[in-house]
């Protein structure tokens, strides 16, 4: 099962990103483990300064701004 983390200290875009991922996973019928990381030290530990950031299976795939829907589907399908 894929582990997806959304990095962000609770800003609105971070919530939206998490929702986008959850919905995309439901639509694709894929089981994912979705985590929200709000601890600043942990977020910075990934080398991300612009939130929301997205980490798929330990690898940073996105930082800053809302991700496009194609991109989100790609993370889940890979």
């Amino acid at each position: 099962m894929k582990n997806i983390k959304v990095l962000g200290s609770g800003c609105k875009n971070c919530e939206t990103t998490a929702n986008l991922i959850r919905i995309a996973a439901e639509q694709a019928g894929a089981e994912i483990e979705l985590e929200k990381i709000t601890d600043m030290a942990e977020i910075m530990g990934y080398g991300v300064m612009s939130t929301p950031g997205v980490v798929v299976d330990g690898k940073v795939v996105h930082a800053g701004g809302l991700p496009g829907p194609d991109l989100v589907r790609q993370w889940i399908a890979e």
């Binding site: 530990g45 080398g47 939130t51 701004g65």
Partner: protein
Amino acid sequence: MFEILANMLIYQGMGLDPLSPTGAALHFFVMDLAKIFALLVIVIYLMGLLRALLSPERVRRFVRGRPDWQARGFAVSLGAVTPFCSCSSVPLFIGFVEAGIPLGVTFSFLIASPMINEVAAVILVGILGWKLAALYVTAGLLVAWFGGLVMQAFRPERWVEDYVWKIHMGEADLPAPDRSFAGRHRYAVAEVKGIVGRIWKWVVLGIGVGALFHGFVPEQWVGEYLGGDAWYSVPAAVVLGIPLYSNATGVIPVAEAMLTKGVAVGTTLALMMSVAALSLPEMLILRKVIKWQALALFAAVLAVAFTLVGWGFNFLA
């Protein structure tokens, strides 16, 4: 073009007298609303197409390890061209500290970033003309440069929260941005939606305040109290701007109304800077990384700097 639209709608459509306060105010509102939003969408879209490059991670890599004056030069100019949402100022601050970038340089960046951005600069040119735009940008760059230097002199390191020093930042190889035209277009559209969605309220509010000022404040009163002869009008404008907050673009219509009514240039610039750069929400966010002593100092340094800028321009004018 926008003038014709506003003329048709307000004077001919609604039959209001151009000389009545309501007519003048509504005309101002419609014209600025159309003009500013058209400019916003166009400028942000074009910037989005060209850019897709300048993330805070890149700024950090750019500034770190350089001699002080170079680092400050980059921090000020990159702060001016990157419109960061204030919600990223905490990770930004920590990231800069962790990279060993001097705090004074970080403060320079934090001053320049909300005060100047390319979108506001283009709209300034469109609404107030290039001369005032150049004045505002130059004054902003100077305040950011020297404001950071002054902060440094007070050794602000002692006021940084302990946990900040302990954070170790990883090096992620961030995914390369999609550089095809479709990718740039998608990024630009998302930028327009994101930025306009975030700032439209400030802009509408600013246009509303500008329109009321334009329509209802008598010129005589302005000439008496805000014409630039009274020394206290500049510090009063700065103090007034501290609790008020708006985005840099939102204060432009207010400045426009003030200038056409004869408020002195320095007084107007001081209010603009104070409203855009000194804000309570931003301070509260920064409180997560620095103690209140540093925040108070930060506010005081900026207030003094804006006052000096205002006096300077009033004197020169």
